[in-house]
Subunit: 180 residues, 4 copies
């Protein structure tokens, strides 16, 4: 029974946007633990590994194209270790929340998942917004605290406290995120 | 042409929940400017005044009942001056965002509204979450900065910065919120 | 454990719209069995009784107002026997489906409901559309076939076949709808 | 200004499901007019061409994979002439409606589209359900009547009447669907 989903948000990034330099520094810190979390979730019998990624406004682009652009971007070293395994669900998204305009809610419910582990970028934007949408839908929340990257550390820190205090999220190291 | 909506969130509150004492102190500061904003929006020919309020888990309760309970609660002085005029739309909500499980998106679009002014409580929860849901739907955002009340001032302050920086919200005094 | 919900759609009707005369004839046939279904669902320990009703474009109107207008309408005899008990959830809706712009999905999931029984009007419109929205969300469907009223019998008959064939709905008499 | 969208539903089909034989006969009739409609919409300056296709339960599959499977299926002759141009938006869907769990609503609104032309398969299922979801969202509806394919002709015929009568859809030949 898979009742935990690890949702990896927006790690396919060409790092060519505003503030990319600030973000990269933070992403450098999470690549190794996130890579490990992805590997463990992929092997796990009770966890479901799901990738959701912004299409950056290009509605013609799917998995292959978004992956290619990220690998052809400025920092393939931040992309390659955390790529989605080919047998993992992958959903393009069009706005900040992983739930908006995607079948994530449907997939989670149809698999009986009750706990969502969030990882990826950006802590104070897509991660926070996805957390909120999981919370209003009554999913239990975990945030892999060493697997989320930010642009602004003060807003990221406030976001982590909001998720913990107001969304009852557990902030856990990657190695504990799949514990039952 | 009404292209601005003032959305007043969760001001019907019996103030009997955890942290109500912290919240009340903040609400005391906003009652007067919010009352003025409601009055001006109600009179305005280009603004639409909409009230959205949590049902506090009671799906049998509608406008009259939620209003009665708030007026019978601990702080009717914080409720009475900001009641919804009887000819203003009123929507019960069931979770934090004013958009989740409500017809708010439908009403805004069917009236051609492109700008949402947020007011009410709690800045770092329902106001922030409603702001996000307006933002992903591409509404322009204004926050009436003297008409939003918080429980925790540090999280509220971070929320205001998030709305301004990451959701392109204008933080305005009530008296400027209806400017075109 | 309440795992069945009986959803009664749009029975608060002043019967002053186009085609009301065609509809009334059909509603006359369902009032008695629907009244019985409402009574049994209300008493049942494993069923949840929920009312969803169009606001007919008036976003200021809630439960009391919609009820009053229907009772003051042309056919109170079709309204009074099927009124919502005061302790039953009631949701205004703004478009045809009982799921669109309402917290119905949230309420069903938060109560662990897996089976939706549909009753009310109009078979080939709001009932069909609500059935579809329940079906895409993977709820099991039952239609109380003696508790749904139509305007056009040919479209209603096609709708019943669509729900049975394409949405795996069981078409049952009211007296069997709560069977486990 | 593109204010019309042509939404092509579920034409990537390996035709290996139940009732595929019934469906194929109908699809054979629409391939030529649909191919023409796609070509004209693709060239048009005021129309937006969008493809939405079921993922058949495989959340790892995107555009390339769904296209490959359809072309490798039993009837590539029904697939090849109506493939999505590479510069057209493509959205996987997971249930029957083209709006459910997809960014279609977002894309239509962000481009200022007010009129949706539906084409594809199956008339009495995904086309009907997508029509409903467009209708509740207040889009004007056109159905390219020679570009929709059915499994059961009686239900398809009833669906066309429902869309025309109850959803104010215009049923038009492909050659008139882009008229302003």
């Amino acid at each position: 029974m898979r009742n935990i989903a690890v949702v990896v948000v927006d790690m396919l990034n060409p790092y060519d946007h505003d503030d990319a330099d600030l973000l990269e520094k933070s992403v450098e810190q999470i690549v190794e633990p996130l890579s490990g979390l992805i590997r463990r979730a992929h092997r796990s019998s009770h966890a479901r590994l799901i990738f959701v990624n912004d299409n950056h406004g290009d509605f013609t682009a799917g998995r292959e194209e978004l992956q290619r652009r990220a690998l052809d971007g400025r920092r393939p070293d931040l992309v390659e270790p955390v790529l989605a395994p080919s047998d993992s669900p992958f959903m393009p998204k069009v706005r900040h929340s992983a739930f908006y305009g995607t079948p994530l809610d449907y997939l989670l419910r149809s698999e009986g998942i009750d706990t969502v582990v969030l990882a990826g970028q950006v802590t104070e934007q897509c991660v926070l917004y996805s957390a909120l949408d999981a919370y209003v839908r009554e999913f239990s929340l975990r945030v892999a605290r060493d697997c989320v990257a930010h642009i602004h550390s003060d807003l990221a820190e406030a976001s982590m406290r909001m998720m913990e205090r107001n969304m009852s999220a557990e902030l856990l190291p990657a190695e504990s995120c799949l514990d039952v």
